[in-house]
């Protein structure tokens, strides 16, 4: 029996196969129950022990070689068949995706977030109050009595409904009533910020009937005006991301603080763009001051022990300054184009 001849023959037959089925038939003819190799192995039983040993080893090696040939051929045929099938599955990968408008968060959201985080790192927790306020919380408790000229500084919206003092409710003209609400609820020390919506009946490119403010309040035993100055300068440095920030505090007047101040930051125009922090021009950023003892007394705080500062800042305004936006009305227009151009994508928020 010529083992080499059988192997050659098998190799030729396997190579000739062009489909998996054909190959399977050849495989049966060699390795099946009645296949050539199987028959040869069966005939071993007629041989002597010694012959059995040597021929058996040769036949087993032949069987393994042929099996390997089948496996290789089989794999080759499979890849070939899948490849030819894939040729019919090609898509037009150049078909342009639709131009959907990118979804963004509103710039005010980003500012809210930064303000909460910067003041959070200085120890301020967040407080809240309602937009529809009583006359008392919005004015009287803040040392702005009924006929005070300061009421005319703020054009107030009124609601067709009266509170328990029989005064019409107002839309809060500032976030300052949160100072009162917090001090009536918590014992000092108090260290809060209160961002939120505020309202004045005014509408042009720098005024919107609705806008956003953040109130700050820090009441403790020795909180002084130097702390106020340092805190606000630090905030502006971080928020505007300017390390050498030229600022100016100048005397002002708010009925609920004394001494009162307004803070300006320097700017200059470079290549038709506002550059913050340097220069000889000034931009008003916020109003602030030491909380007027009358206000603390209105909230039952012992002014022999406690004192502190408060500030109020326009969030839309600092957002406009930071990003060079010019018309506050566009903030509230809902224009998706504007949001896409000026908002922040998820990674930047």
């Amino acid at each position: 029996m010529d083992i080499k001849k059988v192997l050659n023959e098998a190799t030729k037959q396997i190579e000739r196969c062009s489909s998996q089925q054909e190959l399977q038939n050849v495989k049966v003819a060699y390795l099946g129950k009645k296949g050539k190799i199987t028959e040869l192995l069966k005939s071993l039983k007629d041989l002597s022990l010694e012959e059995k040993k040597s021929t058996g080893a040769k036949l087993n090696s032949l069987r393994k070689d042929i099996d390997d040939l089948f496996k290789n051929k089989f794999n080759g045929l499979k890849v070939k068949e899948i490849n030819s099938k894939l040729k019919n599955e090609f898509l037009d990968i150049s078909f342009p995706p639709p131009n959907s408008i990118p979804s963004k968060v509103h710039p005010i959201s980003k500012t809210f977030d930064e303000v909460i985080s910067i003041f959070g790192s200085m120890g301020y927790s967040v407080a809240e109050g309602p937009d529809i306020e009583t006359d008392y919380f919005n004015f009287s408790a803040l040392n702005i009595p009924e006929n005070h000229p300061a009421r005319e500084m703020q054009d107030t919206f009124y609601i067709d409904d009266t509170d328990k003092d029989n005064k019409p409710y107002v839309l809060r003209t500032h976030t300052s009533p949160v100072q009162i609400r917090t001090l009536l609820n918590e014992k000092p020390p108090v260290k809060i910020i209160a961002p939120g919506r505020t309202y004045r009946c005014d509408s042009d490119s720098t005024h919107s009937p609705m806008f956003h403010q953040v109130e700050g309040l820090f009441i403790n035993e020795n909180t002084n005006m130097g702390d106020l100055k340092g805190t606000l300068i630090e905030f502006c440095k971080q928020f505007f991301n300017v390390q050498n920030l030229k600022v100016r505090f100048r005397p002002s007047y708010f009925p609920f603080t004394e001494p009162s101040a307004e803070m300006d930051i320097a700017y200059e125009i470079v290549n038709n763009k506002i550059h913050l922090g340097t220069g000889d021009l000034w931009l008003e950023i916020l109003g602030c001051g030491m909380v007027n003892p009358t206000v603390l007394e209105n909230c039952n705080v012992d002014t022999k022990i406690y004192q502190g500062f408060a500030f109020g800042m326009g969030l839309d305004r600092i957002t406009m300054l930071k990003y060079g936006l010019t018309d506050i009305r566009s903030f509230f227009s809902g224009n998706l184009n504007w949001i896409a151009n000026n908002g922040f994508s998820i990674g930047d928020y």
Binding site: S103, I108, D161, L171, T231, N335
Partner: protein, 797 residues
């Protein structure tokens, strides 16, 4: 308030220039709003229109030939007062026009070349007058600078006066404050007191039932005066403020109002009775005021009246009938102190913003009453001649100064820097406080009569630091305490803001853009959504913004429609903000609108939104806050915002958690372009805020043993709540039932009108062993039996 540099120098001896004074004013809290320094106007020159003719292509334009003394120019001009020989102010190519804030550029206007511009007062920022170009009355030579021609060599300051500084509503007060800051020396007032008061006033005063609004009034009668136009110096002063000179008597009172901050009034003595009263107005009493408007008064207002008529509204405005004209022969001068609240109330009620009201409601210097009387008498007598009566007065003038015991160390406690008592005292002296009983700790202060705003120690501290300078306050940054950090970490509001940020991130990554809309909406929206009537804004800017919104849906539909008109067909927007149920109840919610109107792209099929995809998004939003939608009770939404059959609400107990579904077709009637619109309202504030922080979920334990899945189909009653079924099946065997997933819903006539067939898949897995056939059969049968019994459901095979 406005005043010129030269006017300031009438009261202040100073070597500082206008810019230095401007800076000092700001540092004093008298914020410089503008300093109109006209030195740059020398480039504008006098020019004459030599000739003109109509522009061939524009009816309203003329083509002028203009001579500026060196050359002639062709200028296109639209003013209606163009005429031959007119002398005006001319600006050439390249010059900056301050009133319009543009640079002139030579160019063609409707096809004709224009080489410059003849200017109006508004274009030069001199006034709001834009009726025509400036016409110079004098015969200036062409080429004369505008500064000389318009007498602009006096810089004008405009400063903001805060409501507490009534003392600076006169130029003298401003000069006084500057002198305290070391900017020059206050000059004494220059006038001569009239000593010859040789007859009794025929008119007398009577303060009666006036609700204490007039503390004191004093007058003089001027006989045989000759009223006419004011002298030039007086006219110039008033013009510099933007006031129009009227006649000498009126001009004098206006001048003293602005010079001393002391309003006073002149009556034509022949037009009033001989007994004048301060009294409350009668109900509906009418008066024609000097502004030519008739006002109807109520009994809260105080008037000055004779026996017959109201002649003036006290502290606010005079009456037309008793006003001084050039024919006035005899004058009655009134100087009074009116209570500020009463002036403020009346002024506001009538809507009159006069110079007098502005000063009275901020409080006047009581010592200035006699000074004002003397100064006005001097000017009237000097300009109009005649003789002056003795004083006639009524009431009692309380000129006692307010006394404060001031503690020096309070300054350091509030401001945070040391300032020696000696330095504090010097500052207070400069501010004209009288200081007594000084020791190292404290002193007694008498507040100057013009500073009604200074009442206690904190007011004094403010004065001292105001003059010492805010720039001298040393900054410090208080570092956060451990208690503060703990408080932030436990604060439910801080946690809420974190939750809000998560929601925003989820929505942004799902292609939804954030918008912010007004807290208002229209009357129409409010009515449609049956909002509380008390949420009406009494003084709304417009009907579109006349109610506080009780839902954001209208604002968002309007936004969607506006964007649709800009070409966006698939709009996904959200807002997190307040809605208002009543004046005392506000909720912050997330409101989202998806409006998809375009499915034409056959390759990139836009997501087909329906109730179920919205429901899925709600579920994802809620799970981002570590809650499971299925733990809430679901029911059909009763809100009229939504389609009754394609909307749901989730409740936890009585608290509404979410409301979502298709927008009600009746609302969409208003927005016909937005037919396929869905909305979500998530009331995240009703979720127990403290659980919002991450907790480990206990029911997702990993098991290494084999799991088995089995599908069950039941026929339920049509209204059967499937949330309940799911919760029930989950509870049949909490140890083995890992998951219950609903995946098919089927309704047909064969099943009957009131039935639905529902299929769900149950995943069964033990954490202890691989379950065998017997175990599984037992649990399958258990499910079949319990579900069919509990819900009267038929098993479908």
């Amino acid at each position: 308030m406005k005043f010129s540099y030269s006017w300031l120098c009438d009261h202040l001896e100073t070597d500082k220039n206008a810019t230095e004074i401007g800076d000092a004013l700001t540092n004093l809290g008298l914020e410089l709003e503008s300093l109109t320094d006209y030195s740059s106007y020398s480039k504008f020159v006098v020019a004459t229109i030599k000739d003109f003719h109509k522009h061939p292509n524009a009816d309203r334009l003329n083509i002028c030939t203009v001579d500026d003394g060196t050359k002639t120019y062709q200028v296109i001009c639209g003013a209606n007062n163009v005429k031959k020989g007119l002398k005006g102010i001319f600006a050439k190519d390249g010059m900056y026009i301050p009133g319009t804030q543009i640079y002139l550029k030579k160019g063609k206007i409707r096809g004709e070349i224009s080489e410059g511009m003849l200017l109006s007062e508004r274009e030069l920022n001199l006034s709001d007058d834009h009726d025509g170009i400036i016409e110079l009355s004098d015969n200036f030579e062409n080429g004369t600078s505008a500064i000389d021609a318009l007498k602009l060599n006096d810089p004008v300051f405009e400063i903001g006066i805060t409501p507490n500084r009534g003392d600076c509503l006169g130029v003298r007060g401003v000069a006084r404050d500057l002198s305290a800051k070391g900017i020059g020396k206050l000059k004494p007032l220059k006038y001569e007191k009239i000593t010859k008061l040789d007859f009794e006033s025929p008119i007398s005063w009577n303060i009666e039932n006036d609700n204490n609004s007039c503390e004191y009034v004093i007058s003089r009668y001027f006989k045989d005066v000759k009223n006419s136009v004011s002298p030039e110096w007086l006219q110039k002063k008033l013009i510099s403020l933007g006031l129009r000179p009227i006649n000498a008597l009126v001009d004098i009172t206006n001048f003293i109002t602005h010079d001393l901050g002391r309003p006073l009034h002149v009556f034509d003595a022949d037009k009033v009775g001989n007994k004048l009263h301060m009294r409350l107005a009668k109900p509906n009493e009418k008066i024609l005021a000097l502004d030519n408007k008739e006002y109807t008064l109520d009994s809260n207002s105080t008037v000055i009246a004779d026996n017959n008529n109201a002649l003036a509204i006290a502290g606010i405005i005079g009456g037309e009938s008793s006003g001084c004209t050039e024919d006035t022969k005899n004058v009655f001068l009134e100087v009074a102190i009116f209570e500020k609240d009463s002036v403020a109330k009346t002024g506001r009620a009538l809507g009159i913003n006069s110079d007098a009201r502005y000063r009275f409601e901020r409080g006047l210097d009581k010592k200035m009453v006699i000074e004002g009387l003397n100064y006005a008498s001097y000017l009237i007598n000097k300009i109009c001649g005649g003789s002056v009566s003795k004083n006639i007065d009524s009431g009692k003038l309380d000129t006692n100064e307010h006394k404060i015991k001031y503690k020096f160390d309070y300054f350091e406690k509030v401001i945070g820097i040391k300032l020696e008592p000696k330095k504090q005292i010097n500052i207070l002296k400069d501010l004209k406080f009288q200081i007594n009983q000084i020791n190292d700790k404290e002193c007694d202060l008498l507040v100057p009569s013009w500073r009604n705003d200074i009442e206690n120690n904190i007011d004094v501290v403010e004065e001292v630091i105001r003059i010492h300078g805010y720039e001298n306050i040393t900054e410090s940054i208080p570092s956060p305490s451990d208690d503060e950090i703990v408080k932030i970490n436990n604060s439910s509001i801080n946690k809420k803001f974190k939750a809000i940020k998560k929601l925003k991130k989820i929505l942004i990554s799902n292609g939804v853009s954030e918008i912010i809309t007004f807290s208002f909406h229209s009357a129409k929206a409010h009515e449609t959504l049956s909002g509380d009537k008390s949420l009406k804004i009494s003084n709304a800017i417009s009907d579109d913004q006349s109610f506080m919104r009780n839902s954001m849906i209208f604002n968002h539909l309007e936004t969607a429609e506006m964007n649709y008109k800009k070409g966006y067909k698939n709009i996904q927007i959200f807002e997190i903000g307040p809605i208002y149920n009543t004046s005392q109840s506000q909720e912050n919610i997330l409101s989202m609108l998806i409006s998809s109107q375009d499915n034409t792209n056959t390759i990139f099929k836009s997501e087909d939104f329906n109730f179920y995809s919205i429901s899925n998004l709600v579920s994802r939003l809620i799970s981002s806050l570590n809650f499971d939608t299925k733990q809430f009770n679901i029911s059909r939404s009763t809100s009229n915002t939504f389609h009754p059959g394609q909307s749901a609400e989730l409740n936890m107990g009585k608290k509404l958690i979410a409301r979502y579904g298709k927008v009600h077709p009746l609302i969409i009637e208003e927005f016909p372009k937005l037919k396929n619109s869905y909305a979500i309202e998530l009331f995240f504030e009703n979720l127990p805020i403290d659980s919002i922080s991450r907790t480990n979920s206990s029911n997702i334990l990993d098991s290494q043993f084999q799991f088995s899945e089995k599908d069950f189909s039941f026929v339920f009653e049509k209204e059967q709540n499937l949330f309940e079924v799911q919760r029930y099946v989950n509870g049949i065997d909490k140890n083995l039932i890992k998951n219950v997933e609903f995946f098919d819903l089927y309704e047909s006539k064969d099943l009957g009108e009131n039935s639905k067939s529902v299929t769900f898949r149950v995943t069964i897995q033990s954490k202890d062993k691989t379950l065998d056939e017997k175990d599984l059969e037992q649990i399958h049968n258990n499910i079949l039996e319990k579900v069919s019994n509990k819900f009267k459901a038929n098993i479908r095979t």
